[in-house]
């Protein structure tokens, strides 16, 4: 596996040179989208809210936007906001970690038409610089791989996720880093996960992280299974959260679990991590992208089209029906495992090849179609 990427001044590597246009307050979302659409290689990061937030909820939003803006795939980050202070707070958080960073306020610029012109001119300048950069060889151990699944069915746990798990094992064996999340989709699989660390503190943190999500349903007095598995999962043959979980955790392979990360937290060392974040794909990948994932391997069964704007997202599917009917969204077609008895090890090799190609610059379906979005979790109310 020969890999290449862009080496940053601080030694990190990026597999893309995205220009992130981050709207720090939702009033700036429309102009942020127009700016991103006007400059090739620019991606819009347009969360909702951003005003009237306080305490831990505000901190989570700000830190997630900073995390997305400092993802190593981002060459430059432009923060736009209604008034300049909210944007400057994000810009200062991003600081020198990202090669280029600037902030603009709609009020300070005298409205969006002028802000748009100024922003596009700046981003074109950044793009000129980024286009002059060359890739250099990197090692697999320098990468952080995010693991996701969505639109799951029973084939996800038979084919796509186990094939991703083979790649995850390879990443860990070569000293790299992988992050799986969706802790609600560990319900029923806790003992299989805690058996993968000798550290009692890590075992307890895994159990507590999974329990946190089960308790949300218990406290609400409702059956979690009426929400997850979702209707498309049930149509695809999944019946209970336990069954969905056991298929989901196949993505995390078989190696030891190093630790548990908070929402959007960057791993401090190499290894395999569980991240505490809600499972819905857009929301979960936002946390993975903020946590520094260079790329995301996304297993699907009945099909899911969404990807992360800062972490190229590779859709991997083992359902032959979906690979045909949902072809515009599938990067890795593993239908031969069910169709023709292709060995799972060969499916794992196909995932490895696809991941290498995307690291080296091959464009994913999500990137080509623009199917990327973010959703930052809210843990408090606006006032």
């Amino acid at each position: 596996m020969t890999l290449s990427a862009f080496r940053r001044a601080d030694g990190r590597v990026g597999i893309r040179n995205y220009l992130a246009v981050i709207a720090a307050t939702d009033a700036a979302n429309p102009v942020a989208r127009r700016i991103a659409a006007a400059v090739p290689g620019a991606v819009a990061i347009t969360p909702l809210y951003g005003r009237g937030q306080l305490g831990a909820d505000l901190a989570l939003s700000v830190n997630t936007m900073i995390g997305l803006g400092t993802n190593p795939n981002v060459y430059g980050a432009l923060v736009v906001s209604l008034e300049a202070v909210a944007g400057r707070r994000i810009m200062e958080g991003i600081g020198a970690m990202t090669t280029r960073c600037a902030a603009m306020g709609i009020q300070e610029e005298g409205g969006t038409p002028r802000l748009f012109e100024k922003a596009v001119a700046l981003l074109r300048e950044w793009k000129r610089e980024a286009d002059a950069l060359a890739r250099s060889p990197i090692e697999l151990r320098e990468l952080v791989v995010g693991l996701e699944c969505g639109g799951s069915d029973t084939t996800s746990g038979l084919v796509a996720n186990p094939a991703i798990g083979l790649f995850t094992d390879r990443v860990i064996d070569e000293g790299g880093t992988a992050i799986f999340s969706e802790p609600v989709e560990c319900l029923g699989g806790e003992s299989a996960l805690t058996a993968r660390t000798p550290d009692a503190a890590v075992q307890e943190r895994i159990r507590a992280t999974v329990r946190k999500y089960e308790e949300i349903a218990l406290r609400a007095g409702v059956d979690l299974n009426k929400t997850n598995p979702a209707p498309d999962n049930i149509r695809g043959g999944l019946t209970t959260i336990e069954e969905k979980s056991l298929g989901s955790i196949c993505k995390a392979g078989t190696r030891n679990i190093t630790g548990v990360l908070d929402y959007g937290e960057r791993p401090a060392s190499h290894g395999l991590y569980l991240m505490d974040a809600p499972a819905p794909a857009t929301e979960n990948m936002t946390a993975l992208g903020a946590g520094g994932a260079h790329l995301i391997l996304f297993g699907t069964g009945v099909g899911n089209s969404i990807g992360c704007p800062v972490s190229p997202t590779i859709k991997i599917c083992g359902n032959p029906l979906t690979c045909r009917s949902f072809a515009p969204h599938i990067d890795v077609d593993l239908s031969n495992v069910i169709g023709e008895g292709l060995a799972l090890s060969a499916a794992g090799d196909a995932v490895t090849q696809a991941a290498s190609a995307v690291v080296n610059g091959a464009i994913t379906r999500c990137e080509a179609l623009g199917e990327t979005e973010i959703a930052i979790s809210r843990i408090g109310e606006s006032v």
Partner: protein
């Protein structure tokens, strides 16, 4: 599902009491090959859609359903060998704030 894919029942782990039907929707009464952690064949008691579960043996109401070698829920009514196992007869034991 393409007619090219022969229906079969995939058992994930030894000790599982359900398998997953993959391939074309199969009619009842035709013996389907078992793949994965099992061998031989099984006849469906009723047609089962692609990706859905089939009972590998008769099980009473209240029995734990095992897949991946792990409990994935319990039966709310008895099932016969070859019967479809899904939301109509299998319920979760986790996240049940409604109980």
């Amino acid at each position: 599902m393409s007619a090219a894919i022969t229906p079969k029942v995939w058992i994930i782990a030894t000790g599982d009491n359900v398998g997953t039907l993959v391939g074309d929707a199969a009619p009842a009464s035709v013996e389907l090959p078992i793949i994965g952690a099992g061998n031989g064949g099984i006849r469906l008691a009723s047609p089962i859609p692609h990706g859905h579960k089939v009972a590998l043996r008769a099980l009473p109401a209240g029995a734990e359903v095992i897949k991946y070698g792990v409990v994935i829920g319990r039966l709310i009514r008895p099932v016969a060998v070859g019967e479809h196992v899904h939301t109509h007869n299998l319920e979760s034991m986790r996240g049940r704030g409604d109980l």
